[in-house]
Every structure is written in structure tokens, then in C-alpha cells.
Subunit: 566 residues, 2 copies
Amino acid sequence: MKNLPLIYALLLVILSLAEARIRHYRWEVKYEFKSPDCYRKLVITINGRSPGPTILAQQGDTIVVDLKNSLLTENVAIHWHGIRQIDSPWADGTEGVTQCPILPGDTFRYKFVVDRAGTYLYHAHYGMQREAGLYGSIRVALPAGEAEPFVYDYDRSIILNDWYHRSTYEQAARLSSIPFLWVGDPQSLLIQGKGRFSCSTPGIAADSCNTTNPECSPYVFTVVPGKTYRLRIGSLTALAALSFEIEGHNMTVVEADGHYVEPFVVNNLFIYSGETYSVLVTANQDPTRNYWVVSKMVSRNNTTPNGLGIFNYYPNHPSRSPPTIPPSGPRWNDVGPRVNQSLAIRSHPDYIHSVPQTSDRMIILLNTQNRINESVKWAINNISFTLPHTPYLISLKHNLLHTFEQTPPPDVINGYEAYNISNPPPYISATTSNSLYRLKFNTTVDIILQNANMIDAGNSETHPWHLHGHDFWVVGYGNGKFNVSEDPKRYNLVNPIMKNTVPVHPYGWTALRFVADNPGVWAFHCHIESHFYMGMGVVFEEGIEKVKKLPTSIMGCGDTKRFIKP
Amino acid sequence: MKNLPLIYALLLVILSLAEARIRHYRWEVKYEFKSPDCYRKLVITINGRSPGPTILAQQGDTIVVDLKNSLLTENVAIHWHGIRQIDSPWADGTEGVTQCPILPGDTFRYKFVVDRAGTYLYHAHYGMQREAGLYGSIRVALPAGEAEPFVYDYDRSIILNDWYHRSTYEQAARLSSIPFLWVGDPQSLLIQGKGRFSCSTPGIAADSCNTTNPECSPYVFTVVPGKTYRLRIGSLTALAALSFEIEGHNMTVVEADGHYVEPFVVNNLFIYSGETYSVLVTANQDPTRNYWVVSKMVSRNNTTPNGLGIFNYYPNHPSRSPPTIPPSGPRWNDVGPRVNQSLAIRSHPDYIHSVPQTSDRMIILLNTQNRINESVKWAINNISFTLPHTPYLISLKHNLLHTFEQTPPPDVINGYEAYNISNPPPYISATTSNSLYRLKFNTTVDIILQNANMIDAGNSETHPWHLHGHDFWVVGYGNGKFNVSEDPKRYNLVNPIMKNTVPVHPYGWTALRFVADNPGVWAFHCHIESHFYMGMGVVFEEGIEKVKKLPTSIMGCGDTKRFIKP
């Protein structure tokens, strides 16, 4: 008993240490009318905003987000994109994989550690809610005393997005319609939540579009002449691959998905949904004028106007239009420069994470567009993925194996050797399934993303694939069909970049390597919202037996209702 | 052991008896594009249809509906309107009151007995989903050998509805907006799911409206000359009070909300949301032509065109337009005939349910429109009702009393004597609350619905109030302010009709009496979708200790998550 004061003192120290490293957010999610591109529609906001609040933290901090769902009839879940959720796989926020959705009226606590400095994102991971505006930035700083391998004066974050005027319900219902109805090109491109739609477009009711609404004033990036800015750029487009540029200013790429890259200079940055980059830009041009910031849709023919913002040299007025015509950006169908950028991204020499020189397993994921029954779907190795209604993490941990199909998907399709990726898919029986890949814990896995021709002849799209729970090394890109015996010889096993999202280019392949060392269940999918909805994804399980006791807060749906014992 | 054959035989008899009385439905709910009034929008369908399938049963049958929620991100719940749910209060389908909502992917089993012949309805009871098209008819026949106190040749059901082009999300977001945005007049009136909107209305995109779509061909009621039809009419309007008529044909009202009425003849039937009537109509007019069926919005000034159908004398072509101009119906603001119809509805003399001559408790519910903070709300006794997120039935049965406010609402407001119903509400502090009335089991309760002036001077609306779990006797209507000492002397305690839904007319009052003899928790609310959303309702508890073990299928939301024990 005489030690009580000491114990209290110790407790206080521990608490104060702990408190310094916990960042606590209280967020309320609801529908509100917003006009991000001047057209008024329902947007899912966080605390009244879209994009939502930026999470600012330091490496090693614990983030606590108490998320209150104030939607009327609709559930929600938020994914912390790029955060590996080590020791917290239940906090990944992927509905159907790691948690049941959060019901209206409920408050769900996300708690996880941001264990590595860098630029990350968060967004809804349920249905197609991301498209409704539920997204934001996560910026994790280095620990005190540590420095990046580059210098800058100021730090800024923006998220690039595309924007549809239809509701996510309509978009999803179109994709499920027979005959299939495509979601169409986005109506506009947003830069940090701001875009511009032409209200004089025929068929637009006057009271739903107002170009003088301050919500759709152009995005302004104000700079002081001579200063260097670290601009953290993330893309959360529903569909669009983008080219981003700042008129008259080069950008030096220094970070990708939280990893430092060997710096390289670009005039325009290609960025795919789910990727983040840091670029350095110096305000070293004529300071008496402003410059255009341009976001342009590439990789597919489209009708979407470029997104425009203003690079504003202080003290010019931020709304002063640049005297020039905005740069028109690269041609949408010029694949070469995009592949070249992919190839240019290598690890910074001082920050190389050694890549295992061999792998234990190779999984070749053939990406095809297929017809299943009368629907159009995307399939991976002839399987169009569907989410189960009981989250895998719970099913696997609590032995509810009847809730999903137990036959695993194949590591390579039968007849892969003979498959001609240059032709539309032959009429083969693609099916839907919610089966998953089970990976041996701590093994090294190679994934080959193999692109192919779509249903329509002469067309192959770019797909940005995002892996939950891991970073992977990008060990190779190639044109055409992957050659199992030859191509691995040319892998970059010296200084490959680590990323969490990577494109597979039209008619090409991309090779990744990762170590299955994070106990949990992890989605890996095309980050195009409608493509994942149409089945373009797989799921990996690893080390489920090492996952600690699951919080009951992730339960309540599907077969987990059997756990209700009042 | 030698009795086994006998036991088997008995079991078979029991099973076959039991099976004959169970009506099993498998329904799948999802969003589909439909054009009920020629304008294409997302509709919640059941098995591809809106209105959904009609439930056809016989008195005493058990209805089993396995409801699969195939909405993408949205929950659902269905209320069986007019079914008292004796011994099954958990099957009432009222989200927040009797159950947690049904999650996407889940299949919920509703199981209840239809214990009385008559005309009933079902519809969503969650958010404003009813407006999205999730509704249908329940028709319960008399037991074999029993006959109604009227004769007819054929039996038909229709549901009248109003129809909005905005999504329910937009409607709800408007009502919650600051400043308040009204939902507006309905775009059209539907008769059994069919209406007609003018596609040439300015601002309507050509590809979203098509007057030649067969989905919006007019409703046709084909009759054989000389025959008499029992037409069961239900209204599930979101807003509109309606007048319904068949050009040139009188209608004899014979049933109201499942009770036989002393027959009376009308030219047009006034019907409020939540009510059902059976009328007899005889095809006794010139059979060489067709006649108009007209549904018209009354009780509030409006811009909604009348709904038109065709009363088709066989063998005339069903699409042949009548040679006449459709009847224009009664003036919207002529209250007298509507009150007169209410007064005319009395119990059929051979089917009188004796009404208790005294009551144990009187609750006067003052209906006012109020501003709370900056919102517009409806309040009952200065309390604007909000639903809790843990259903009352579970909270009360399992002692989760912290989940809602425990101070009960008042039986009459302070200062009721001095309240002037002819003026806009004085600036008094209406509040929001989720508290409920607790009724002593088996007592007789009088409810006085007292109407009043709205926020705007010179205006008082009609509100149809619907009681769950009971029928009530309609013992009186009056103009102006209810007089506690005098008006009860004039109650009809001889042959009042029993109903589950009743209007309170502008600046008037309606008096109801019911016996609190159905263990459970029961909503009582204005059936106008937006009014309930804005707080116009109360909840009654009675005999909670007599409620049997709750099924766990109704749990999983709010505080019931604490019951999850894997």
C-alpha cells in the first residue's frame, strides 16, 4: 500500500506518454447537398465536408476515429488506404472482408497505428459510396529528428477525383441492369473537391446548377515566389486515369505510396486511382502572373473536360485567370509515356527495402471482361469476385466456413499458355464466386497482373490494383503476354519501389512480390469503383491463426448474427 | 413401439393441417429502374415488381415472408399494416420500434397470423423507403363457409399512391436542410402503380421519360356489364389525401380497415394514406363505352395532375379513351364533404364490437408544426418524435433503458386550456425526444387528436393517424378545440367503426378509444411519410412483461450489439 503514490506517478507518466501519441477524431457521416462542380447533388460528408478532414499524425501514433453513421437508411465503412493495419486487421474498413457495415445511428471506433511516414488516403469501402464523396487524406510525418531525403519549404495535400452527377445507387443499378448500362464518363474532374461543370449543358435544371456558387470556385494553390513546395497528390477517381500538371513548372517526384523514390523530373504526372505521390515544385517562374493547374483524363477516350485550378503567385489575386490557354495535356491514348513513368519509379537508393530474391508461389491473375448470364462483368482467372455477406475475417477466425465457397481460385487458369490476350475473350464459362486465396504465412508471393483485350475488339484498359494490408515490390512491367520462364529473369530485384497500388497497362503485365507476413484477410482489387463492383478483385488470407481476438464491434451481419445471445 | 404407425399417421394429419394454413413467400428486395409514370427512376421492387406481390390468405392463416435484402448498402424493414401481430409483436416491421433493420445480404423471416378477414397493406417502415415503391396489398378471406354481409361477383384490389421523382435520400435531405426545403407536390398520382407524367415538362431529359413505355399505360379495370365488383382500395400516399371516383358510377362503401361498415353510397370516396376501403360498384351504365377512373389530390392546394385510369366495359378495347372529359372531382379545399364521409362511417349493425363505455385514461395529442433550432418539425404535445437506434421492444424487454429518454411525454400539454388552435403556434420550446407512453395493460385508453394551425397563419392540414398493433373505435369528430367536459358526452358509444387509421380534419379533433391488450410496443403516427420523418408520432408500450422471448433475428443494431458473444 505504501507504493501507491509511486504507482499513481508511474500511471500518470504512462498515460501522458500514451495520450501524446493518440490522435482522436470524432466524425459524423451524413448526406448533404453540395455543389463541388456547381451542380447540386447529395454528397456524403464527414463533419459537413467533402473531402473530409485531413488526418495529420506522426509515425507511430495511434489514430482513433469514432465514426458516427448519420445516414438515414444506409450503412457505411471506411478504409484507411495504405495503412497496413499490423495487429489490427479488423480496422481495415473493408466491408465483407474485415467488418460488417456500420448501421445508421451506430458509432464505430476505428483504432490503428500509422507505423510509417508518408502520404495516404481514406475512403468509403462499401458499395460505391466512395463516389459519393466520402474520402480524405492521411499525412504521416517522420518522428522528431528524422528528415526526408529532400528539402522543401511548405507541405500541401490535394486529392484528385472524378465526379458523377448520378447517385451511387443509380450507378450501381445501371451496372447491374440487363441490358448492361455503363456509368458513362465523369461529368467533371475535381481538384481537392472543386471542379467546374457547364451549367448551360442542355437538360440541366437552372435551380440545380449555379456557376457562382463558392463551393465550385476553382482550386487555388497559392505560392510565395522562390519557395519550394512538397505537394502530396492522391487520386481517388471512380474511373479516370489522370495526368496532372502545373503550367510552366516541372515537378520532381520524391515519394510514391509512402516510399521515397529516386527523384525524377516530370512535366506532367500520371496518377491512377489509389496512388499517392509527393512532388517538389519550386515557384521559380515569372511571379507577376498566375498559372494553370490541370487534371486531365487519359487512358480512355472520353468527353470529360479537364479539371482546372490556379497556381497563384502571391501577391497576385487568387482568382486572376492566367493569361494563357490552359495546357491541353498528353493525348489520352498515348501509352508510351505512361509506361515510361511506371518504369522510372525506383526506390531511393538510401531507402531500399531488400526484396527477397526468390518467391515461394506465383499467381498469375488474368484480367478479362466477360459476359456472365446476360451481365457484363470483370473476371480474374475466369472468376468474377463477389463479396460474401459474412466478413471473411470473422468467418475464418470463428469457423463459419459455410459462408463462402471453399474451393480456392486457381493460381493460373487452365489453358493460360494458349490464351490470346490480343483478342476478345473466347466464350468461356466465367463464373461468379466469393472464394479466396489462402497464403502460407511468411511466404513470398509473386503476383502477375496480366491484362488482355476487353469484350470489344481492339481495346484494353488500364487497371490500378490496390493491395490491402501490405506494400509490395514492383518487380517488373512488360508488354504483351507474360512469359513464365523468361520474364522473371528481367525482374528488378535491386531497387524496386514498394507501393500499395500499381497500374497494369493496356495489353501488358505487371509483376509484384510481397511477403505474406501480416495476419489477416486482405482485399486486392482494381481501384476503379465500378470494376471492383463488377467483380475485379481477389482476397488473400494469411496467418489467420495469429490474428488476436476480434472485436465484436465488427460483427452483427450475415452469419455472425448467430453470436447474438441476449 | 407398436403405436408408431398411429403416431406417424397423427403427425401426418397435423402436418397437413398445419401446412394448409401456412402461406410461404420468398421475396427479394432491390433497386431497379422503373417508369411508373413514364419518368424513369430507381424504384425498390419486390421480386421485380412495384407494387409488390399481393398476399392472398384466409383468416387464421400463418404468413411467412422470407425477405432477402438485395439492396447494395441500404437496410430495410416491412410493416404489415392493419395486422395486429397478436403474440408476434416482433414481426410488426417497424424499424426502431420492433426490430433492427435488415442488412444487405441478410434474409429476415416475418411470421405472423392474419387473424381477421379484410383488406390490409404492407409497406417499408424505415426511413422514407415507402416512397421508393416498396408496398403492396394483403387480402384476407373469411373462413370457408362464412360470408360477408354483402354480395358481389368479383373481387379486385388497387392501391392509390402519389409519386415523386426525387430519391427518398433527396427528400429526406431536403427536410433536414437548413433552411428547410419542402418535398414539394407529388409529380403524379398512381393507381395500382401506374400514372402519367408529362414528359414535355421543361427540364426533363428526353432519355428519362417516355410516354409510350408500357409500364405507364393507364390502369385498366375491366368489367363485365351487369356484374358487381368488390373493389378493395388502399391508399399509401406519401403526402396526398385523395378523392377517388369512377365516372358515372356510384360506389357503396362496405368495409373500412378490415371492418364491415353500415353501407352507404358515395359518388367519390375520400381516402387518406394508410386507410383501406371496400366499395361495391356495379357495371350498370351504358356498356358501349369506357369510363374514367379518377384519383385527385385534396386537402391541400397543389399542382399535381389527377391520376386517370380506365373503367373498361368488356368487350370495348381497354385502351379506348372514354368520350367524355374526366370528372374534375371535388374542390381541394372543401372540407365539409370529407368530414361528412368520416361521420358516415359506422359499424355494420351485425358486426358491432362493443365499445367500453368508459375509459381509464385520456391522452390529448396536440398536433403542431414548430421550429426547433432552425429546422421545421412536427410536434405532438410539444415533442417532436425521434426514433431510437435500439428498438424499444428489445430495450424494454432486456432492460436497456438508457437507450431512450425515460421521462414520458405528457398526457396533455401544460396550458392546453389556453392554447388557441386557430393561431400559429406561439414561440414555445418544442423539443425532440424519443420517450414513449407506457400504458397499463388491459386498460381502456382515449386518444384525442387535436389539430391546430400550422406555422403559417390560416392553414391547418389533414393528418391520417395510424395505430400499430390495434384497431380503435372512432368515437367522435369535432370542429375546433376539444372540450374535455362536454365533447365526451357526445361520443358514439353505440356503433362506432373500428379502424387502424383515421384522419384528423383541419382545425378539428378526432377521438379514439382502444384497449391496451396487445403486449408489445406500438407506433402511432401520422401516415404522411414526411410528417412522421419530421416527428409526428408517438409510441405506446403495454404488457411488455407478457411478451414472449424475442427472436434474435430482430437484434444486431444499437445497444443490442452488446449481446454479441462469439
